[in-house]
């Protein structure tokens, strides 16, 4: 078949182009050694990983091995029991076994098995304050008698109500062999059990809250000197906007007036009225004559409640009338400072939606919500400062960024000593390591806004725990 008409269209490249390209290629660094086959390397890595897993499992199950035989037999028997399946009778017994302890910055000291006849040496821990009933079963042996099952421990974790979904989602039921009993408490009562001296100290009891223990009235009154307070992370959100018009120069007071359902009447500040503001320049003449339009999560969702809390709280406190309301009627203050308006100024449009960025791009005067701990949504958006402070980690960690707050774990030194510092360490570590990225979307939304500590702060928190640094009451830290 005649296809010469196609062949004759070929032509040689210009010699100048070929020479120039060749010179450019020659200037590139010489290639390194060719890649070896990955099979051998993969085999070696596989053996190493398997070996490490074997060793960790063995140490976790039995503590430091007393003999080489025990070191090898423990994980084999453990996996043998698993693969053999649980009988209904065995299942209950197996639940009492200590599971593998997750690794943490300081490696846990080995779990010491406690004999059933001596429960006093390992205090029986119960979740409910004031109750001393033992929840653990006594130590027992397997049918082979090779492994001694230690006592199951339990610890209660009292969580401020608005943090409860987050902890419930992210904290496992058992951490390092300790069963976690989560208890939800209103913010004002969250420290009661910890600080009241009428509750026995021996109950392990951790409190997770956004409040400082030193500022709590009950704790101040009781003046307990054995409370340890640990910073375990932050919650923060940021405002984003299209790059087109640049950031809005907003104060936290502006945000409150733009977003709250009820705001102080400008003429009678003691009276709260339905939010009348529709454009930014009504709040501050220096702001543009643009409609107030903020796209955020559903008001009734965990993200929506967090958005309301973080965006309104700082601005709410700038009004003397509202501060007075806090003293007079706490519930009314809470409602005023954490309720988003329901008109078109705040529109429910989840930041998790794929078209969220597009929505902000086509409405460049609108503001959106982004989570500081999350990936930035798009190169087409910019972060909008509040009070002139850009939302970044240093601003959050130093408490200067208004739309953020710290999370704390508080507990008593007796709890640390009785539960074991490494067990407490593991619980604290689990809280500090909460991450929405490891969870399904529906669960991850409970963790939106959580910002993990950086390595330095994390180490400082664990050092405070290890040194049992107590809160000096009478003066704020």
């Amino acid at each position: 078949m005649n296809d010469d008409f196609l062949h004759r269209l070929r032509k040689s490249p210009p010699p100048g182009f070929l020479n120039e390209l060749k010179a450019r290629l020659d200037r590139q660094p010489r290639l390194s050694h060719p890649r070896r086959s990955g099979f051998g390397r993969g085999l070696i890595v596989g053996f190493l990983v398997a070996g490490v897993a074997f060793a960790v499992t063995s140490v976790s199950l039995t503590g430091l091995p007393t003999s080489a035989a025990q070191f090898f037999s423990a994980p084999v028997q453990f996996f043998g029991r698993i693969t053999a399946g649980y009988g209904s009778a065995d299942r209950e017994a197996n639940h009492t076994q200590i599971k593998a302890v997750p690794l943490s910055p300081w490696f846990p000291t080995p779990v010491t098995a406690q004999p059933a006849s001596a429960p006093e040496s390992a205090p029986a821990f119960d979740g409910s304050p004031g109750a001393n009933s033992a929840t653990g079963t006594g130590a027992s042996s397997t049918s082979s008698g090779a492994i001694v099952q230690p006592t199951l421990l339990a610890a209660s974790v009292a969580v401020q109500d608005e943090l409860f979904p987050m902890l419930q989602t992210a904290l496992p039921e058992r951490v390092g062999g300790v069963r976690i009993n989560l208890i939800t408490k209103p913010a004002k009562d969250v420290f009661t059990s910890l600080c009241k001296s009428s509750y026995p100290d021996r109950d392990p009891y951790l409190v997770v809250t956004t409040r400082r223990v030193a500022a709590d009235p009950i704790c101040q009154r009781e003046q307990r000197t054995s409370i340890v307070e640990l910073n375990v992370g932050y919650q923060a959100i940021s405002l984003v906007r299209s790059k087109l018009y640049g950031p809005l120069s907003l104060s936290s007071r502006d945000l409150f007036l733009a977003l709250a359902q009820k705001v102080p009447n400008p003429e009678h500040p003691d009276v709260l009225i339905d939010n009348p503001y529709t454009t930014w320049n009504q709040l501050d003449p220096a702001l543009p004559y643009d409609a107030i339009q903020i796209y955020g999560p559903m008001r009734d969702s965990p993200e929506g409640r967090l958005t309301a809390r973080l965006l309104l709280d700082a601005g709410c406190n700038t009004f003397a009338a509202l501060s007075a309301l806090r003293e007079r009627d706490g519930a009314a203050f809470e409602t005023a400072c954490s309720t988003l308006r329901t008109d078109r100024a705040y529109q429910e449009f989840s930041p998790g939606r794929n078209d969220y960025t597009d929505m902000l791009a086509v409405t460049p005067t609108a503001l959106g919500i982004a989570w500081l701990g999350a990936r930035m949504p798009s190169a087409g958006l910019i972060l909008n400062p509040i009070d002139g402070i850009a939302p970044d980690y240093p601003a959050v960690a130093t408490h200067t960024y208004p739309a953020s707050r710290a999370l704390y774990v508080s507990l008593s030194t007796y709890n640390i000593n009785s539960l074991g510092d490494y067990r407490v360490n593991n619980i604290v570590w689990s809280i500090m390591s909460m991450s929405p990225w490891t969870l399904p979307l529906q669960e991850a939304r409970n963790l939106w806004g959580f910002v993990q500590l950086n390595d330095t702060e994390r180490a400082a928190t664990l050092a405070d725990l290890k040194n049992q640094k107590t809160v000096p009451f009478g003066q704020r830290r």
Partner: protein, 186 residues
């Protein structure tokens, strides 16, 4: 029957001789990559840029080339295909000004074809073909690779490549020479 009028694959010879001779490979493959882009785009503009981009990518990644998986020319033309795809997907709506005279006029291709260069004529003819067929023409006649290598690069079977090329050439030839192509065919 299609005549296998292809340039001998010297790079394949180089592969069997241990260490690759990069100078020889460049001398062999640079004109072929250059013509691959000419045939694929149907114009001269941007061809040098795409050729340079292909070789720079390949040269940077030479350490990753696995001779046990593919011949060097297969590897290089795969890079060229990707460079071409990126270019077509990203920039096809923004032709440079100097390419404006080479853009095919959709409504009267036959009328204007006589006044264009041969390459522009070919571009006008293959502009209506699907992307896969245009790629076959560029690989076969621009890059001068054999049907087996085309099959590797396109994921088609070798016999399918032969059949498709046969039909394509027949169609193009009819359009190139006019209705009396059957006489010229012999």
């Amino acid at each position: 029957m299609i005549v296998q009028n292809t340039v001998p694959d010297r790079s394949m010879d180089a592969l069997s001789t241990g260490e690759l001779d990069w100078d020889a490979l460049y001398a062999d493959l640079a004109p072929r990559v250059f013509n691959y882009f000419r045939y694929r785009l149907g114009r001269e503009s941007d061809v040098e840029d795409l050729t340079a981009r292909t070789f720079e990518k390949a040269w940077r990644a030479r350490a990753n080339y696995r001779r046990d998986l593919a011949g060097f020319s297969t590897w290089l033309f795969k890079i060229a295909q990707n460079v071409g795809n990126d270019y077509v997907n990203t920039w096809h709506k923004h032709l440079p000004l100097d390419a404006a005279t080479e853009v095919a006029i959709d409504d009267t291709p036959a009328l204007h074809a006589e006044h264009r260069s041969d390459l522009a004529r070919l571009a006008a003819l293959i502009a209506t073909l699907p992307a896969r067929e245009r790629e076959l023409i560029a690989l076969k006649y621009g890059a001068s690779v054999n049907n087996r290598l085309i099959a590797e690069l396109t994921g088609l079977s070798e016999s399918n490549v032969g059949t498709l090329l046969h039909r394509l050439v027949k169609t193009l030839r009819a359009q190139w020479y006019g209705p009396d192509v059957s006489v010229r065919d012999e």
